[in-house]
């Protein structure tokens, strides 16, 4: 590899490190997980679920995060199907807690097969943390670039080049798959207050159309002033005050 290529890789590595990590206090999966535990013990399931969701973004393969997330949501009486629909970032390999309640409903073979396949794919693409996945994706891109550059210079080692290109494409696909799995979590929020009223319009007037239980994970679809339009896992939509829900990705 030429000196220029080495310089380019070093530059990109430094740049990447500057993006991902910082000297300032930031987020770590362990700290978020511990904070979620602290909120759970303090009787604040909404904030606990919020921190677990954030921790799962950084460490999607951590079974402890998924187990505690499910435990807290179950304790907050969030329905099992809503938990399954909303916990996009929860890894599927989390062992069920000992006090797990409620058996999954019977499903058709086709649905079971597709669900199993989705679990396998989700588990595969979330094996690595997003930071590692970024490195791998970048490596795949560099491999592709190296193959193109090599083929331009010479036609030697054609099979080696093809294998390297396939590996690069696989790494890029892996990264894209993880991005697709994590994408819904980037636009979700957690209800952090008990009985948050959801209204038909973004004004604090009139009777709410329904109330959201604390610790439920909802999807953010729009915002207006002090209100956020959310969609629940059950498909209901309503405007909720910002003070009642906290986005998984903090917004300025």
């Amino acid at each position: 590899m030429s000196r220029r290529a080495v310089t380019l890789i070093l530059f990109l590595a430094a740049w990447h490190g500057g993006i991902a990590h910082s000297a300032e206090p930031g987020y770590s999966a362990a700290a978020l997980y511990n904070q979620g535990n602290a909120y759970a013990r303090a009787g604040k399931p909404g904030l606990a679920v919020l921190n677990y969701e954030r921790a799962a973004l950084l460490a999607p393969d951590d079974p402890d995060i998924a187990a505690n997330l499910q435990y807290v949501q179950r304790a907050a009486h969030i329905a099992a199907e809503l938990r399954a629909a909303s916990n996009a970032t929860a890894p599927s390999n989390a062992a069920a807690p000992a006090n797990a309640a409620g058996a999954p409903k019977a499903a058709t073979p086709a649905k079971t097969a597709s669900s199993a396949l989705a679990k396998i794919v989700t588990r595969a693409v979330t094996r690595a943390s997003p930071v590692v996945m970024s490195w791998l994706g970048l490596t795949g891109l560099l491999l592709l670039g190296a193959v193109v550059a090599t083929r331009r210079v010479s036609n030697l080692y054609p099979w080696t080049c093809r294998g390297a290109a396939a590996l690069g494409i696989a790494l890029l696909g892996w990264m894209a798959g993880q991005g697709a799995v994590l994408w819904p979590a980037l636009h979700s929020a957690v209800v952090v207050t008990a009985g948050a009223p959801a209204r038909v319009s973004p004004v604090p007037m009139g009777d709410p159309v329904f109330t959201l239980p604390e610790a439920e994970v909802v999807t953010l679809t729009a915002q207006h002033d002090e209100f956020l339009l959310v969609r629940t896992a059950a498909g209901r939509t309503g405007w909720v005050a910002r003070s009642n829900v906290a986005p998984v990705i903090p917004r300025p």
Binding site: I19, G26, S28, A29, A31, Y71, V72, G137, V203
Partner: protein, 560 residues
């Protein structure tokens, strides 16, 4: 009027009608007297438009010169149903017919009587009673000077004499379009009252009168009624009035129903305009006497939680014009348009309390102060504008739960505090570097820039490699050759052989050099010299052939 029939020795039957001329609403009396051995006819006369009713009978026995003379008189009441001239046929075939003339009520020269309702009114206790004393309407105003927009509580009193007024056919209405009268749809108060010794039923409506423009006005109200009109002669009416029993009067069918409209006496009211001097900018038309107060739904709240600011306006006046925008804008707060509700403390809504409720949402935590609210109105008793002010309100705003969760957690704050007994998995040991963002790096714009740049480099290399493999298309040479051919064709068309060969030679020198690489080129060079010095002429065919030769020599070969 009388009609006697019969010869002297025959039984005598006499009929008289009094009076022979009446007004519609009155009745006449037909007296049929028979004497001797004659029988009184069993059937009463039948005349269209007249009602006959026997109201009495008398017998008289006279002894004249030892002879006994018996006579019987039957009194029949004749009541017309419409105005006109009626002919009552004779009681016996020998009797003469009688004529009854019935005038309409408003006919000139009509006789006055107790049934005439629209004649001169009687006044008692300020009451404008109808002529027959059956009903009256009265408008009670508390003041006779008011301001535009001011609400004036008024009373409308309808007095109906018991037994004379059968129904009230509508609500009282105000004469004059310069006022509004509200809340008359409620049920009126009903009380009995004696007026001049007669029993009346009083219906009283309480309402609010509001003038809409300045000036001097004469106000009155009117009310539609149905009354029972007396139809008997005055002497009998006086008798039955003396008996004072309307039940008996109605029982004998001595009245007819009639729809009338009773109007009250006029009341003067002067309406003054609101003064322009001293009018506050936020004056919205409220006239009356008001006080305000404010309160907040809670003295503490979290940032983002809605609070309700309430403004209470109490007093008396035109509450429909009481309005307040409350707080249009407030720093560090999100304000919403207020909504209002009114609770009246009297039936007409003149006194009460109007409450404005405005939702507020604090956007910053910390102690906050809601500024004082103000409300402007015109006080008619003081004849000036007033501004009522409330007290400022203090509220403590705490950070919202969402705000508390927005920042990154303090590293190490909860590390190592495992408590597996509560069903949660134990805490993790803190390790690894903290990340600036929760968003995966490959979804951050700054990170995406790197692979995008790299992709561009790769794409550029790919394209460069393709271009090195694919022969370069001599597009520029082809363009230049095309221009040369165009010049050659122009010279050929003009018949300028010297110019034609000069262009061809210049083009071919650029391709094959000054000596020429082919036979055709060298021949063109020779022809160029010849045309230049000897004026060699060419045919059209020659031009075309040499153009084709030049085109072949200067155009790049395909696949080269």
């Amino acid at each position: 009027m009388s009609a006697a029939a019969a010869p002297a020795a025959a039984p005598l039957v006499d009929a008289t009608l009094e009076p022979a001329r009446i007004t519609m609403g009155q009745s006449a009396e037909l007296t049929i007297t028979s004497s001797g051995s004659s029988n009184v006819p069993a059937a009463l006369p039948q005349v269209n438009g007249l009602d006959f009713r026997v109201i009495g009978q008398s017998h008289r026995v006279e002894i004249v010169s030892g002879a006994t003379l018996v006579s019987t008189a039957i009194m029949v009441r004749v009541t017309p149903r419409a105005a006109g001239i009626y002919t009552i046929p004779g009681i016996t075939p020998q009797s003469q017919p009688l004529v009854l003339r019935v005038d309409p009520e408003d006919a000139p020269g009509k006789p006055s009587g107790p049934g005439n309702l629209n004649s001169a009114a009687s006044h008692a206790e300020g009451i404008h009673m109808t002529a027959d004393g059956s009903a009256y309407v009265r408008l009670v105003l508390p003041k006779h000077e008011a301001f535009v927009g001011e609400s004036i509580p008024v009373e409308i009193e309808v007095g109906m004499r018991n037994g004379f007024v059968s129904s009230l056919n509508g609500l009282p209405t105000l004469n004059g379009a310069d006022f509004t009268l509200n809340n008359l749809s409620r049920q009126p108060e009903r009380i009995p009252k004696l007026i001049d010794g007669r029993e009346f039923t009083l219906l009283t409506w309480h309402s609010v009168l509001a003038p809409i423009k300045p000036g001097k006005f004469s106000l009155s109200v009117e009310s539609p009624l149905t009354v029972r009109v007396q139809t008997r002669p005055a002497r009998e009416s006086r008798l039955e009035d003396a008996l004072g029993d309307p039940f008996l009067q109605n029982y004998f069918g001595v009245t007819v129903s009639k729809d009338i409209t009773v109007t009250s006496a006029a009341t003067e009211l002067t309406v003054l305009p609101l003064p322009a001097e001293g009018r506050p900018p936020d004056f919205g038309g409220a006239v009356g006497s008001f006080k305000i107060a404010d309160d907040l739904s809670s003295s503490t709240a979290a940032a983002g939680d809605p609070l309700t600011l309430r403004l209470h306006v109490t007093g008396a006046g035109n509450f429909d014009r009481v309005d307040s925008a409350m707080l249009d804008h407030l720093d560090a707060w999100k304000t919403y348009p207020p909504k209002s509700s009114f609770k009246a403390s009297d039936p007409v809504g003149f006194r009460g309390e109007k409450i404005f409720e405005q939702p507020l949402i604090a956007s910053q935590s910390g102690p906050q102060t809601i500024p004082a609210l103000s409300f402007s109105y015109f006080d008619p008793s003081m004849r000036r504008y007033e501004v009522a002010r409330s007290a400022p309100l203090a509220v403590a705003i705490t950070p919202s739960a969402a705000d508390q969760s927005a920042g990154p957690p303090a590293a190490g704050k909860t590390a190592g505090t495992a408590a597996p007994a509560d069903g949660l998995r134990p805490d993790h040991v803190l390790s690894g570097a903290a990340q600036r963002s929760l968003v995966p790096p490959y979804l951050q714009a700054r990170f995406i820039a790197a692979p995008t740049l790299l992709s561009l480099v790769i794409a550029g290399g790919w394209l460069g490699r393709r271009r090195s493999l694919v022969p370069r298309a001599p597009r520029r040479a082809a363009k230049a050759a095309g221009r040369v051919v165009q010049l050659l064709e122009a010279a050929a068309q003009a018949g300028k052989a010297a110019e034609f060969f000069s262009i061809a030679r210049s083009a071919l020198i650029g391709v094959e050099g000054p000596e020429g690489a082919s036979e055709d080129t060298r021949e063109i060079f020779d022809l160029a010299d010849e045309a230049n010095y000897s004026g060699h002429e060419l045919t059209t065919t020659d031009y075309a052939r040499w153009i084709e030769v030049v085109r072949r020599r200067i155009l790049p070969e395909k696949g080269a």
